[in-house]
Each structure stands twice: as C-alpha cells, then as structure tokens.
C-alpha cells in the first residue's frame, strides 16, 4: 500500500505527538513522584512494588518536615524570600537605569564601556570567589544576608545587555517628541521606556529571583547561623542525618519549588519572550 502525501503528514504528526508525550512524561514523572513520596506513609516509601498513589495521604509529613529543624522552615522561607525580593528589586532598578544610558543617551566612551559589559559576561565567577569571601568577611558581612543580595544592586552585565538590546528597539521618535515638550530624561525613562520594556524587565526579575531562590553556593559559604539560613541550606540539613527522613525531605523539597513555579506560570509569556530575545539577538 502506498501512502498519500496527506496520510504521510498525518503519520509524522502523530509520531511527533507520541515522542513529545513520552518526553513530557519523563520530565514530569520525577516531579510527580516527589509529590507522591511527600504524601506517603513513611513506612510505605521503601515498599516493592511501589505505591504510585499515596494511600493513606499523609499531610502530616509536611507538618513534621516543617518543624523538624530549629528554627522551622518558616524562618528559612522568610529569609529566602527576603533575599530573593531584595535581589530582584535591585537587579531591575539598577540594570534598567544603566541599560537606558547605553540605549538612549550619547556620552563619550559609551561604546567602549559597552564592549566591557559584553566581555565581562565571559568573565569567570570562580576566580572572584575567594576574594569576594575575603572582602565580605572584612566588611563584617560574614553570616549576614548582605553578600547574597547586595551584588544584584550593581547592574549585572547580562541583565544590562538584555534590557539594552530591547530598549534599542523602542522608536527614538517617542523620546524626541517628549524632549521637545520639555520632558527630562528621567521622565522619558520612567514614563515611556520602562512601561514599554515589560517583557525584559519580567525576565530580569524572574532570573534574579530564581537564581537567588535556588542558590546554594553563596548561602553555603556565607551563612553559618541557622536563624539566617535559606531554604537550600535547610533542605541540605534534612538529608545530612544518617537515617534520612525521605517523606519529610520530599515534602519540604516540593514546597520549596512552589514559589518559583508560581512565578513561572504567571509570568511565563513575558518571560519566554524575554529569553528568546536574548538567545536570538545574542
């Protein structure tokens, strides 16, 4: 039997769907299993054949996990939210101001400095690791949250690049008209350029919040007092006992994913627009 062109197309579409669904299942399966484990009776976690759907559903695992350490996970979540929030605000404010300067103002040395911005994206973070530790310790910032969010207030190169590329595409006629009307550059920035740059601003905010929320290395080297710990450190502490309480650990791990997941779901259209922009124009 010979297949017509139409049948062939349908066959290949069906094949694509099958592959995509298998792939999506593989991606989601571990996450679903994590939630399923979080809700299982601790005694049934290591049973074979495994229990796919938790029965009975043990919400108490969440309570146990939450209170397992002193202070509780409430404190870890608050600390992390504070750091991520401050980092997000700082990243957006500083990078958008700097990006405006590169995209819309003419000043001597601008193009050279922008080359430095591009080059600095390639600079290695591992080389500055030890000096940063030494400097922050000297400033008295060891065991405080400052080293985790203050650097975000100095306009990260990647963020500046992303915003600048976007602001370049906003028509200059808008500024010129505003300038003739006697608007200052500040009001052009605040009233025209910023409102038009929602997508890259969302991208910068999400990236900085996501990075600080998920960060493990910086909290690991800078924080020692448990009352200052972030969620990442709390999770690590849960797994470091000899008998790991897997249901409690998985309950707190799933909980820790919720904030970033919510932000992603709500802002994803803007966010994907933003990354796509960097990836292509980069």
């Amino acid at each position: 039997m010979k297949l017509g062109k139409h049948d062939q197309e349908r066959l290949s579409a069906g094949f694509s769907y099958a592959l995509l669904i298998v792939g999506a299942t593989i991606v989601l399966f571990p996450l679903l299993w994590m939630v399923s484990t979080a809700l299982k009776d601790p005694g049934l976690v290591f049973r074979y054949p495994p229990q796919w759907f938790p029965d009975p559903i043990m919400w108490s695992n969440f309570k146990r996990g939450w209170f397992l350490l002193a202070p509780t996970f409430g404190s870890f979540f608050l600390n992390t939210a504070k750091i991520a929030g401050l980092a997000g605000i700082g990243a957006v404010l500083s990078a958008s101001i700097v990006a405006y300067s590169f995209a819309r103002l003419r000043w001597t040395g601008r193009d050279f400095i922008f080359l430095l911005v591009l080059g600095s994206m390639m600079l290695p973070s591992q080389v500055t690791l030890v000096p940063h530790f030494v400097i922050y310790r000297w400033l008295g910032w060891y065991d405080t949250h400052f080293p985790l969010w203050v650097p975000y207030w100095f306009a990260g190169s990647f963020f500046v690049f992303l915003l600048r590329q976007y602001m370049m595409t906003i028509p200059h006629e808008l500024d010129d008209a505003a300038l003739i009307d006697g608007c200052s550059h500040f009001s052009i920035f605040w009233r025209i350029v910023l409102p038009l740059s929602k997508a890259p601003i969302a991208t910068v905010a999400i990236f900085s919040i996501q990075w600080t929320w998920n960060d493990f290395f910086a909290p690991l080297i800078y924080l020692s007092d448990q009352y200052k710990w972030t969620v990442a450190l709390g999770l690590r502490a849960l797994q470091s006992s000899i008998m790991v309480d897997w249901t409690a650990l998985m309950s707190m791990a799933s909980l820790s994913l919720i904030p970033v997941m919510l932000i992603f779901v709500f802002a994803q259209r803007l966010f994907i627009q933003g990354i796509v922009f960097t990836g292509i124009k980069g």
Binding site: S12, A13, S16, L19, L20, G23, A24, V27, F29, P30, L31, W33, M34, P49, P50, S94, V98, S101, F102, L105, R106, W107, G109, R110, I113, L116, M122, L123, P124, Q126, V127, T128, L129, V130, P131, H132, F133, V134, P151, F154, A155, G156, S157, Q210, W213, N214, D215, F216, F217, R236, Q239, M250, S256, L257, V260, F264, I272, V276, G279, I280
Partner: protein, 310 residues
Amino acid sequence: MAHVLTLRSVAHKSSIRRQENLLGWLMASPWIIGFSIIMVGPMVFSFGLSFMDWNLLRAPVYAGFANYRKMFFEDELVFQSLKVTLYYALGSLPLGLIGSLAVAMLLNAKIKGLALFRSIYYLPAVLSGVATAQLWRFVFSPEFGLLNTVLQLFGIEGPNWLMSTTWVIPSLILMSLWHVGGSMVIYLAALQGVPTDLYEAGTIDGTGWWSRIRYITLPMISPVILFQVIMGIIGNLQAFVTVAIMTNGGPANASLFYMLHLYRQGFEYFRMGYACALAWLLFFIIMGLTLLVLRSSSAWVYYESELRGR
C-alpha cells in the same frame, strides 16, 4: 539678529550635549562601579593571592609559585577532578545539544498545545537547585529509586548508579538531560526564525527530512548553536550543586567535580591562596576551550549576512 540666535542655540545645544554626557556616565555608574569593585578588583586580588599562603588566621605569606607547583605536581586530586569534570562535560554537552534540538524541532512542527509542552519541558530549568538534586538522588537510589523500579518492570536489574564508580558520572549526565528545556526554548525561537520558503524550496527539490535538517535547519541556526555550546562549556565545567548534594564527590572521588575540589580547598581547609590558583587554572581551561570553539566556528557557523554581502 539671526546670527546671534544661531550662536545662542549652538551654545544651548552644546550645554545639552554636556548635560547628556554627564547624565550618561551617571546612569551607567552602577555598572561601572560594580564592574570595578566586584569584578576587576577581586580578579587582581585573586591573582595576587594565588602567590600567597593564607589561612585567614595569620597574615598572608608570599609563597612564590608554591601553589602552582602543588597544583601541577603534588595534588593528585587536581588531575582526578579535571578528568571527572571533562568526562561529565563531554557527555552532557553533546547529548544535551542533541536532546534540546530534537525537542525544539518536534515542537516547531506547528503542533497543538505548543505552549503547554514548552512549559513542561522548560519547568526543570526553573527548578534547578538543592531540591531537584535531592529528588534525583532519590530517583537513583539503587533499591527503592524510581529508575531501578521502572527498569525492574522491564525485567532489567539496574546498577547502583550514584554508588558505583563506573555509573556515577553517566547518572549525572542522565540527570543533566532532564534540564534540556533551558536551551530548548532558545533553539525553538531560532527555528521559528528560519524562513519557511527555504523548506518549501527543499520540498519541491524532493529532499528528505534528514537533508532538510542537515542542509537547511542546522546551518541556519548555527550561530545560536555556537552561543549555546560556549555557555554549555562554561556551565558544565563549573557544575557544583549536583555533586555537592548527591554524591559529595564519591564514591572514591569518582565524581569529584573541579568546583567541589576548589570549594573544599578554599572553604573547608581555608587554603585561600591555593583555591585562587585552582580557580585560575579552571579559568584558563574554560577560556582555552571557548577560544578553540570560536576558532573552529568559521568552519561550521553560517552567518546569513555574509552570504548576502551585507
């Protein structure tokens, strides 16, 4: 009168220019200050420290090339960690490239539910960190883990994954494939930018799907592939969280990533000078590999504008 007016407007204009100049520097200053005190200063400091012996308690002592000598000739773990890290990168980089490209191509075929699939595949990229590393540690658990349970359904007895010196790196590579969504969205956008008339021309000429990929798609998106390969080199060679949480470098240092070795030297043994020297070695390796890829790119990266002579 007209003459005076022009003069005045020139003076006015140049004062506006001066103002704009000042404002430009002022608004760019957060980056300039940050670059100087967060990047350049610490890099110089780090270079200096790499010639010192310093444990943070006593004053630093000049040590000449001792740290570098130790790194190249005495510390066997340097070679081991480099080997392990390169093994991991050599596995996860090409497989990740193929995986993310394949998913992007499947999604590019005018499919219903694109947004949903894209979100699902992208999700792990948002969730990287301690929680997902712990999840995967559980997935790889030899007796009760998800992976071996599923394999058992097919009658296959899975290995010890993270506890086996042979399987630990392949396990980590496998896990890294779970994160392909991050570069997938970027490839997808690039694919959507390939003009469809190219494919139509290809279809009329009767080319098969493989030739279409090989001669149309890949060349058209090769600049994006180049960018992703470079970012992949940087990211993979600096990987840390997964091993810190999942294996702690074990078993028998079989998963001792370079950054884990550096972390221990610097922040567990407080050998600040030595950790800086280690960081510089990694820096030069990353730079070297990046330059190599960039040099090779003229052979395989195709810029549309070149052909059109723009």
